[in-house]
Amino acid sequence: MNVTTAIQAATRAFAIGGPILELDSISLRFGGVKALTNISFNICEHEIRAIIGPNGAGKSSMINVINGIYTPQEGEVRFRGERLGAMTPQRAARMGISRTFQNIALFKRMSVLDNIMAGRTLQTRATFLDVAFRTPRSRREELESREKAEEIIEFLEIEDVRKTQVAKLPYGLQKRVELGRALAAEPKLLLLDEPMAGMNVEEKQDMCRFILDVNENYGTTIVLIEHDMGVVMDISDRVVVLDYGKKIGDGPPEEVKRNQEVIDAYLGVAH
């Protein structure tokens, strides 16, 4: 451990703990296509874990397995020691797993505020009758949701567009709103599928800051798919490298960077 990482570790509000999510020999096939083959790795509490690899390596499939959109044919996923058999997206959400999508999947015709408040659907209990008759429970929850949503809006610096329909926002802001919606659910584990794809340098820097702040302020464990190696090496604690559905590297960024197999498959060499 070099000096900078030692300082980082010492000043971190939430020290990296034991494994929160364990993936054990995961294999996923679509018919004859092997998307993931025998992949095992773990994600520790409070860490930022990056998944990298060339296009089609199975990164998004990996995230889809973690949050239950795909069910792997073999292997098991354990979240906080509990074995997850048939995982569904709903179950994942109830266990505290939130995510964003590679192609923005916002509720396009709703306002920024409504999108973020919609993200709190599991944090609220009011039935449609509560809502219809504005019972005290409904009104209290609505206010709580609003307060929480405003906290996120302030954190992400999108106060001025809170009542704007998201379809009208520029791409970079939409990505930010999607992060906000995921945060609204107060996740334990946050899955970010290419949060910085298509952004310019300033937008990337902002997004990095938000990701680090989420990790720092709330202790949220973050799994991140990203292609920008500078970003990955800068902000992640550990990196998993996939290629053709197989794991070819796993470890801290400096170590992965020197891994010959990773260099051959993905990073390449300066010519």
Binding site: N67, I69, P89, Q90, A92, A93, R94, S98, R99, F101, A105, L106, F107, K108, R109, M110, D114, M117, A118, G119, T121, L122, T124, A126, F128, V131, A132, F133, R134, S138, R139, E141, E142, L143, S145, R146, E147, E150, R181, A185
Partner: protein
């Protein structure tokens, strides 16, 4: 100059999420409601009350139901007239077969029965969407009307298959005159519209819109698509059922099952679309447009040509103009009359300045 909203500060989140944010609009709504409750019943003619206003209110309620399903939850349905029939005939049978059944209770129960039927016919929404779902809900339309027509029990074995609705009576008071019937319909429509608006702006409405806009993301947030879609079908059908019962009891009075045909379903759908989907006021504006436009065209043509032109040509011409008006409208303002109202308000705020 009268429509200025400067200086109206919202200093709490509750104030910021009111149904009607501006004071002027709240005053306007209050005035409209006062006029509707205290002026119109005493001034409007019986013809206006029972032939224009009552069906307008009842169909606005049905269109509100259609709007919940189509506008908020994004599930296209062509079954609204079928659910109206369920409401009307459920109400009739409840009143007929249960002694001393109060009208209001029967009305709410008939809405609940329509909701249950709606859930059954909403099941295809879990597998198909968009225009294909609309086709699937046609089954509701045809099946329900067929069942009521086929089995005499629903019409109390009337030889002509036509039912005559019972009197509307609340707490021993009989609502018989057009003004009284108008008031009872108005009261129910006001209450149910308030509830629908609350749902649409709250957690329930956000869940519906989440499913409408991006179902994968909604599911990943932990929302059950099954429950949310079926809930929308149930609540929408409740509104259609109550609206159908009011339509039958306060307007038609002698009801045959075929009154609730596919044409009525289409008209309700047009009301929701032309009025403006996913707005509270839209269904009311849309219903007014669809109901009043033909009346307006009719009187205009009669005034212009009178006996000079053949009546069949006039009525054909009316249909053509009505159709063209709808097409033009959809081209120039696809977001509906509610959007036009919004634009007018925005202009008025700046008047007499351009910006």
């Amino acid at each position: 100059m009268i429509y200025r909203q400067a200086g109206q500060f919202r200093t709490s989140y509750a104030a910021d999420s009111r149904a009607i944010p501006f004071r002027e609009d709240r005053v306007a709504l209050a005035l409209i409601l006062i006029a509707a409750y205290f002026v119109i019943p005493f001034t409007a003619s019986d013809y206006w009350l029972s032939v224009i206003l009552v069906p307008w209110l009842a169909l606005s309620l049905v269109a509100t139901g259609q709007n919940i399903l189509m506008g908020y939850a994004g599930q296209h349905s062509l079954g609204s007239a079928g659910f109206m029939a369920v409401g009307a005939f459920a109400c009739y049978n409840l009143m007929l077969r249960i002694d001393g059944m109060p009208f209001l209770v029967a009305l709410i129960l008939s809405g609940v029965i329509a909701a249950l039927v709606g859930v059954v016919f909403g099941l295809p929404s879990l597998r198909v969407r968009g225009i294909y779902l609309a086709v699937a809900t046609l089954a509701a339309q045809f099946f329900i009307v067929w069942v009521i027509d086929k089995f005499g029990w629903f019409t109390n074995y009337d030889t002509s298959g036509i039912i005559t609705t019972q009197r509307m009576e609340i707490f021993g008071y009989r609502f018989t005159t057009p003004a009284e019937q108008y008031l009872i319909v108005l009261g129910i429509v006001t209450a149910l519209t308030w509830l629908a608006d609350n749902m649409a702006r709250g957690r329930t409405g956000r869940n519906w819109m989440a499913v409408r806009d991006m179902d994968v993301a909604a599911e990943v947030m932990g929302l059950s698509l099954l429950r949310t879609k079926l809930q929308a079908f149930a609540i929408s059908s409740f509104y259609c059922g109550v609206g159908g019962a009011l339509f039958a009891y306060a307007f038609l009075r002698s009801v045959e099952p075929t009154a609730f045909d596919i044409y009525l379903s289409f008209r309700v759908m047009f009301m929701a679309i032309i009025g403006g989907l996913a707005t509270t006021i839209g269904p009311f504006l849309g219903a007014a447009f669809i109901l009043l436009m033909p009346v307006f065209l009719n009187t205009t043509f009669q005034g212009l040509f009178g006996a000079a032109v053949d009546a069949t040509i006039i009525s054909a011409l009316e249909q053509v103009i009505f159709g063209v008006a709808i097409i033009l409208f959809m081209i120039f303002e696809p977001l509906g009359l509610a959007r036009l109202l919004q634009i007018a308000q925005d202009r008025l705020r700046q008047w007499p300045f351009k910006y």
